[in-house]
């Protein structure tokens, strides 16, 4: 246990040595705080939730409205803060869905091996062979646009990554002595799988989950932009960028600020991801994320 703690603290100091990673980490923390305390930090919380204010339509950035107002007169800063809430919550839900579905399958595939393994992994490979964003768009387009459908649609092509990850871990773990001894004292298969092996797979799963957050937020924003994700009046960055499209040349701020929010958030997660990757395993290369 002590060895592992030292590894973690070493990794942490490696992560903190890279200024770009620290920058990313700072942005994520700020975003999380903004999202958590949205009702207290947003200048106009009711407008953040969707209340329109038609007397102040399309106002440029000013002291009263630092990022201007949209076509329904809502304060963009408040909308963006509330949008952070929606985006982060949605991304966390997607990560939980894909872990909840992918991890047990990987556990079963890795532990039982043989035909079961073959069947699960070939199925996972097949899903990975599809272009993921396209599949997500097709799923939402046919099941009807809503946030829930968007979350499911993004999860469907995504879980196999976790199945692969966990399976690899399980295969190396199941030959370890502590598993051997659990088996010797007569622990059931289920108990060995979930009590002994799974807890040891958690940290790579967690790291991978963090790495994927940025990409998932980007996917959600893309679906929102096409009108296939969050539905109005809930604030969503992708939807806001699309709303501003009609005013792009005259009221540039409506699309620019929400888009910048997506960009900065995804960038922050990717920077932290890079830092984590370098610190934990210098050999791991940037995985190609299928768009």
């Amino acid at each position: 246990m002590r060895a592992r703690t030292r590894n973690y603290s070493q990794a942490l100091s490696l992560i903190l040595r890279n200024p770009l990673t620290v920058f990313g980490l700072a942005i994520i923390i700020i975003l999380l705080l903004l999202a958590l305390f949205a009702p207290y930090v947003a200048p106009y919380p009711e407008q953040g939730r969707g209340l329109s204010n038609l007397q102040e339509r399309l106002r440029p950035p000013s002291l009263k409205h630092p990022m201007g107002t949209d076509n329904l007169g809502r304060d963009l800063l408040s909308r963006i803060i509330y949008g952070a809430r929606v985006s982060l919550k949605a991304a966390i839900i997607v990560v939980l869905i894909v872990i909840g579905f992918g991890a047990p399958l990987g556990l079963i595939a890795g532990y039982f091996g043989g035909k079961t393994d073959e069947l699960i992994m070939r199925f996972a490979d097949m899903i990975l062979a599809f272009p993921s964003l396209l599949l997500a768009i097709a799923i939402v387009a046919s099941t009807g646009p809503s946030l829930l459908n968007a979350l499911i649609a993004i999860s469907v092509p995504w879980w196999p990554w976790y199945t692969r990850l966990v399976r690899g871990q399980v295969i190396s773990l199941k030959e370890m002595q502590f598993v051997e001894s659990a088996r010797a004292v007569g622990a059931s298969r289920l108990r060995i799988m979930f009590r002994h092996i799974l807890p040891n797979c958690l940290s790579p799963i967690f790291v991978q989950g963090t790495l994927d957050m940025g990409y998932i937020i980007l996917c959600l924003a893309s679906l929102g932009f096409l009108g296939l994700g969050t539905q109005p009046p809930t604030a969503d960055w992708g939807v806001m960028v699309n709303d501003g499209r009609a005013f792009l040349l005259t009221q540039w701020w409506i699309s620019t600020f929400p888009g910048a929010a997506i960009f900065v958030t995804v960038l922050a997660f990717n920077l932290v991801g890079d830092g984590l990757r370098e610190a934990l395993d210098p050999k791991i290369r940037w995985r190609f994320q299928r768009a």
Partner: protein, 338 residues
């Protein structure tokens, strides 16, 4: 090698079968009755019943799936609910415009990304390296639809030097019509010596192509940098240095040749996934390609079009992936033995 190719082809068939199963399922969960959708809102119940029979919707699901597969094998993707024209025809009409955009985008991505990656590796951990790395991460993080809009604000609204969208200027298209040879406007204009149109087409390509290629540029630069760093530590680089070769020759000739493999794989995958990217870019830049065609279908709930495009795009993606793998296997014998 033959065994490897066979194995991969069988796998391709399995993936395609799975894909068809997915699109078939999706086209059956569509809210509402496909027959009613086919006829429009003013159809009478008897008519709907008749069309249900004609479309085979009254048969068991597995029979429907078999018919579906048969139609797909014949290249029949169904017909659009709105225009009642064959989906395949619509796709083929819109494909060249998208391919033209994708080819220019991937070319830009390679010509910018590879030198950046090499340069970044050469200056490892120097300030330039940090800037290039930040630039690459920014490229893979930026939402393409937003980047396109920012370009429109800057280069059209503020500077006024590039067009906001479309494939060609309307006046130019009327005065100097492009003769259709390949379907790629830029090539057709050059082939027929139609330079007026050529300039217009080129200027319309700049912004959408850079936007579409942004993600690939970042990914290619990252890929090149990391493989270059590995290669630069090899013994033969030291040998090359001791022989007195110039740094340029060492980096761009000897090291790059051995580092380019993974980069080209990434470029192939990027190219394949760009088809989905066109959905956003074509919407922003009013580009009349496959992306616009699909987005319209999504807005109009034209399911046969959406499913047809999904199948063809996924097929394209899977086949490009396969080709990339086969090329790699030819280049590197270790892969086919695994």
């Amino acid at each position: 090698m033959l065994r490897y190719v066979l194995k991969r082809l069988i796998w391709l068939l399995v993936v395609l079968f799975g894909l068809c199963a997915v699109t078939f399922t999706l086209s059956r969960v569509v809210p509402g009755d496909p027959a009613a959708a086919y006829l429009g809102p003013r159809a009478r119940p008897e008519q709907v019943e008749l069309v249900r029979k004609q479309l085979g919707l009254d048969r068991p699901l597995y029979v429907q799936f078999a018919y579906y597969l048969r139609d797909l094998c014949r290249g029949n993707l169904g017909e659009s609910l709105r225009t009642h024209r064959p989906v395949l025809q619509g796709i083929l009409e819109h494909l060249p415009a998208s391919l033209e955009l994708m080819f220019v985008a991937i070319t830009i991505a390679l010509f910018v990304g590879v030198p950046l990656g090499v340069f970044s590796a050469k200056k490892e951990n120097k300030l330039v390296d940090h800037f290039i790395r930040l630039f690459s991460v920014a490229n893979v993080s930026v939402p393409s639809f937003w980047l396109g809009m920012i370009f429109q604000i800057i280069f059209f609204r503020w500077l006024g030097i590039l067009p906001i969208g479309g494939r060609i200027d309307t006046v130019t298209a009327l005065l100097h019509p492009i003769e259709k040879i390949t379907g790629f406007n830029i090539i057709d204009a050059a082939l027929t010596g139609n330079w007026e149109a050529f300039w217009s087409v080129s200027s319309h390509l700049v912004l959408p192509a850079i936007t579409l290629g942004a993600y690939s540029t970042g990914l290619i630069a990252r890929m090149t940098r990391s493989t270059m760093l590995e290669v630069l530590r090899e013994d033969y680089i030291t040998t090359a240095r001791s022989l007195g070769l110039s740094e340029f020759e060492i980096h761009f000739v000897h090291a790059l040749r051995n580092a380019i493999g993974p980069t080209l794989t990434a470029a192939g995958l990027c190219f394949a996934s760009m088809l989905t990217g066109t959905f956003f870019i074509e919407l922003i830049f009013f580009w009349p390609g496959l992306g616009s065609y699909t987005i319209n279908a999504i807005f109009l709930n034209d399911y046969p079009v959406i499913m047809g495009v999904t199948i063809l795009m996924a097929l394209f993606y899977v086949v490009v992936n396969l080709l990339v793998d086969l090329l790699l296997a030819i280049a590197d014998p270790r892969i086919r033995i695994q």
